[in-house]
Every structure is written in C-alpha cells, then in structure tokens.
C-alpha cells in the first residue's frame, strides 16, 4: 500500500517533469523569431568582457590606412578623465599648498636659521662655476617646466578667468612650447648633476645620526656632515629619481607614437603629473632653505664661496677634508 503510493507519486512527478521538458522547446520555437545572426557579436557582451590592461579596448579591423583607428571603444578614457580632473587636482593642491603652509609655519616658529657663531669673515669655495652652471641650468628649466606644467593642470581654473580665454590660450601655447623644448636641457642638466654630485651623495650611517638630531633644523646643535648632509642627500635623490621618472614619462608624452597606444599614454600622464607635483612640493622646501630660510646658504650657489663658520656648522667633516687638502680660506675685505 505504502509502496504503491510512493511509486504513484514518483510517476506523477516524473510526468510533470517530462511534460514540462517536452513542452518548453516547443513553446520557445513558436515565439522566437528566426535569428539568422545568432552568433553575431553584441556590444554588451564585449563591454562586459573588458578587463583592465590588455583587453581594455574594443577594436577590430579597419580598411583605411590609419591602423590606430581600428579601436572602436576605449571606456578607460572616462577613468583617466576622472583622475585628471579629480585626483590630479587634489594631489597637486595638497603637495603645493600643503608645503607652502608647512614652510610658512616653519618660518614663523623657527625663523631664519642664522650662523650660530656669526659670520667668520673668511670664505671657502663650495661650488665652482661648473657646479653652479649645472645647478642653475637644471633649476631654471625645472621652474619653467613646473609653471608650464601646472598651467596645463590648473591654468583654466586659476588664470583663465583673470586674463580671458584668448590671452590664456596664447599663453598656454607658449607654455606648451616651453615645456616641450626645455625638457631637453633639463634632462641634460639632470644627467650632469648626477655625474658630478653622486659621489658625495651615497647614503651612510652619518646620515642616520643627522636625521636623529633633526638635521639641526628641528633640534638643537649641528650634526656632523660631509659635503652633503642627510637632508641634502634626500633632495639629491628626489631630484635624480623624480627627474628620471619625469624624463621617461615625459618622453613618451612628447613622442606619443613610441608609447604604444593611448592606454599607455594615459598611464604615463598619471606618472608624470603626480611625480611632477610631488617634486614641485619638495623643491619648494629646497628653495626655501637654500635662500630665505638660512643665513649664508644661498652663497653656495650664488658666488660659490661660503662663510667658513657656516661651512663648519653645516658641513664640519667636509671643511676638515678641504683643510687637509690644503685649501686656504679667503679673507673677506673689511667692510668700509
């Protein structure tokens, strides 16, 4: 009895399943129109299949000679736009305004860093003409590159409302040329800077001590230092590595057909923009301490002759070495 009931219900279920299974293809055949192109590509499939990286574009074959036109849709342009109008502006503003705020704060708190023992009145040669030529070539190019680059990023927000769209476009065109051409002396200057100064910029234990003492900027006293102290080595390596990153990325932006596609250009633009503004922030600090932030510092890159006491305080070991080499400090003529 029980068995027959369960057998019955089993057949009932089977019947329903079979019935459905048999009837559904028939229904589908009635409703579905003839689709001669069932295998055709569909846009939504291709869009969904897009992966970041190599398969980030929908493309095909094209019969005009311009092979690059074979890319049909490249949605990544939207993301790059978000970056350029969002993140790029934010990072740029924080790097530059943030650094300016820090420097103003530092100046108000610490004031101009004076030579503790006062000027000695005699000087020692710190940078010869060639060193200074390299520094100012590179720095001069950097300043123009930075301003013309920032003009691309922020000009239309900051300058265009003031000088009008026609004047601004003319200026931006000039800036564009300046940025294109000054890139080359900048790269040469950078390479020379590396060759001439790298031997004195190898990091060592002495730099750790320098940082432990706050570089004499934050703490008290003057940590020992050779030709370049820990902070200056950081400046050097930021300039060399940042400059190299700017050179490589900028090179692809300058010669777009060597980059291998727009997706790569977007990538290099991101690298270039971010490294650019971060390095601008760092160079603001460098320029501050090399000029108004510290008594006697500018002379090193100005005349090349620094005050002996300044040198003893900031580069004690370097002065000792120079003295051992037999360098005789020059007496300044008495002020009248």
């Amino acid at each position: 009895m029980r068995l027959s009931r369960s057998i019955l219900s089993f057949f009932a279920v089977l019947g329903v399943v079979l019935g459905l299974g048999l009837s559904s293809p028939a229904m589908a055949q009635q409703n579905a129109p003839i689709n001669p192109t069932a295998s055709s590509v569909r846009e939504d499939q291709l869009l969904n299949a897009l992966k970041p990286g190599s398969a980030a574009e929908i493309g095909g074959r094209i019969s005009i000679p311009d092979g690059k036109a074979a890319t049909l849709i490249r949605p990544a342009g939207r993301e790059w736009r978000e970056f350029h109008q969002g993140t790029m502006h934010l990072v740029g503003a924080v790097a530059i305004l943030g650094m300016l705020a820090v420097l103003v704060g530092f100046y108000l708190k610490r004031g101009k860093i004076m030579i503790s023992g006062g000027p000695a009145g005699s000087t020692i040669t710190r940078f010869g003409a060639f060193d200074r030529f390299i520094h100012w070539t590179t720095a001069g190019c950097f300043i123009v590159l930075a301003l013309s680059g920032l003009n691309i990023t922020f000009g239309k927000v900051l300058l265009m409302p003031i000088i009008g769209e026609v004047g601004f476009a003319a200026m931006a065109q000039l800036g564009k040329y300046a940025h294109n051409y000054l890139a080359f002396p900048f790269m040469i200057g950078l390479a020379l800077m590396f060759l001439v100064w790298v031997k004195d910029n190898i990091p060592g234990m002495i730099d750790l001590q320098w940082f432990a003492m706050g570089g004499g900027l934050i703490g008290k006293g003057h940590p020992k230092a050779k030709r370049f102290n820990g902070g200056q080595k950081m400046v050097f390596w930021s300039v060399i590595l940042g400059g190299a990153a700017l050179s490589v990325s900028g090179w692809y932006l300058l010669f777009p057909y060597t980059a291998g596609g727009v997706l790569n250009l977007q990538f290099w633009n991101v690298v270039h923009g971010i490294v650019g503004v971060v390095l601008i922030g760092a160079m603001l600090a460098h320029a501050y301490i090399g000029s108004i932030g510290m008594e006697g510092a500018f002379d090193a890159m100005g005349s090349g002759e620094v005050d002996l006491n300044w040198a003893r305080e900031h580069h004690s070991l370097w002065v000792e070495d120079e003295m051992k080499k037999g360098v005789v400090p020059a007496r300044l003529q008495a002020a009248e």
């Binding site: 689709n35 939504d44 094209i62 849709i73």
Partner: protein, 198 residues
C-alpha cells in the same frame, strides 16, 4: 530642443565606407584625418559586424572636461564643438576620448601637431554660420541649413542614423522588435551612459 546623437545599426552596416568618404569630401577634411571610420569586429568569422564610428557628441564629454584651455562648447542641439583658435594641440582630449575621435593634422609631438580636428556633426564651429572661415576650419554646417550630417543622410542601408536621440532610438528599437535581433547601440553606454534596450 533636439538632443543630437549617432546610432549605427551594425546588423545593417555593409562596411561600404561611403560615410567615411562622404564626410571627407563634404567637410574637406585635412589629409591624414578621418573624422568617421568603419571598424569590423570578428572580421571573417560568422558573427562579424561592422560599425561606423565618429565623435559621439558625448553627454558630459570627457574631451571638454580635460581640455586645458577649455575650448569646447556644446550647442543647443547638444553637439560637442571646439574652437581651433583656442586649441593648443596638447593631445589631452585625444587621451580622454573613448572613441578616438580627436586627431591632428601633422605628425610629431603634441604642441607642434596643429589644431585638433574631429567630427562636428556637420555643425561647423564658433565662426558665423556658413561663413568661409567656418568652412575652412571646420567644414560644412549642414545643421544651419536644416540638414542632418551627410554620412547618415546618404547611408544606403540606413544603418547609420543621425538625429534626435529619442527618434533614432525609436527607429532602432522598432527594427529590433520587428526582425528580432540587434547587436546593440554601439557606443551609447559609454557616450551617453544609457543604451537602447534590445
């Protein structure tokens, strides 16, 4: 006001490239630039489809957003145009455009490649409508004459549609319903953030 759009019905396009040629001729497009092009996907395979593509005149256009000199403007018909007088040829719109529309007359590095050129929806530029200066820089202004872009107007299979977005979407939808299939309104999702349901 109309909201002008392009729609290429890929199930009709026969890759004849007449739209490409019509555009070049109508607008006297500079040598080396193709404002419109036809791309064939899965070429030679059973499901191959050809799509005619040009500037889509995007909603909230990426090119306009990134242009460092802000030289783009949108007409009352929502056609995205730009001023070649202001353009500095920097290439940023070319990075941002999802459809590869912006092109430059010269090879070389950006800045010395000349002013950006792209499809104008046959709507000219900022100069006075139908003036010689406008024609010389941007090509013809058929919209000002009450005509639609030539590429779509002369498309022999009526695959390429140009006109008010709602109207061309309706035409396409009717076709899809009637024949029962459609490969999609190519580019719409990316350009207009909406598409025609199939």
């Amino acid at each position: 006001m109309a909201r002008m759009k392009f729609l290429c019905d890929a199930d009709r396009c026969i890759e004849c490239n007449a739209c490409v040629t019509a555009c070049k001729n109508e607008n006297e497009v500079p040598w080396g630039i193709n404002r419109r092009r036809v791309v064939t996907i899965n070429d030679g395979k059973p499901g191959e489809r050809s799509i005619s593509m040009a500037c889509m005149h995007c909603t909230d256009a990426p090119c306009a957003a990134v242009c460092p000199v802000d030289c783009f403007y949108v007409t009352v018909d929502k056609v995205v145009l730009h001023s070649k007088d202001l353009c500095i040829g920097c290439g940023y719109c070319f990075y941002a455009c999802p459809f590869g529309a912006p092109q430059y007359p010269k090879v070389g590095n950006f800045g010395s490649r000349g002013k950006m050129d792209k499809c104008t929806f046959c709507a000219g530029g900022p100069e006075a409508d139908l003036s010689p200066a406008e024609f010389q820089k941007y090509g013809s202004n058929r919209l000002a004459e009450g005509k639609l872009p030539l590429c779509a107007e002369m498309c022999s299979t009526k695959s390429l549609l140009a006109g008010d977005g709602d109207i061309i979407a309706k035409i396409y939808k009717e076709r899809v319903v009637k024949r029962g299939y459609g490969s999609g309104a190519w580019g719409w999702k990316t350009a207009y953030k909406e598409t025609v349901a199939i």
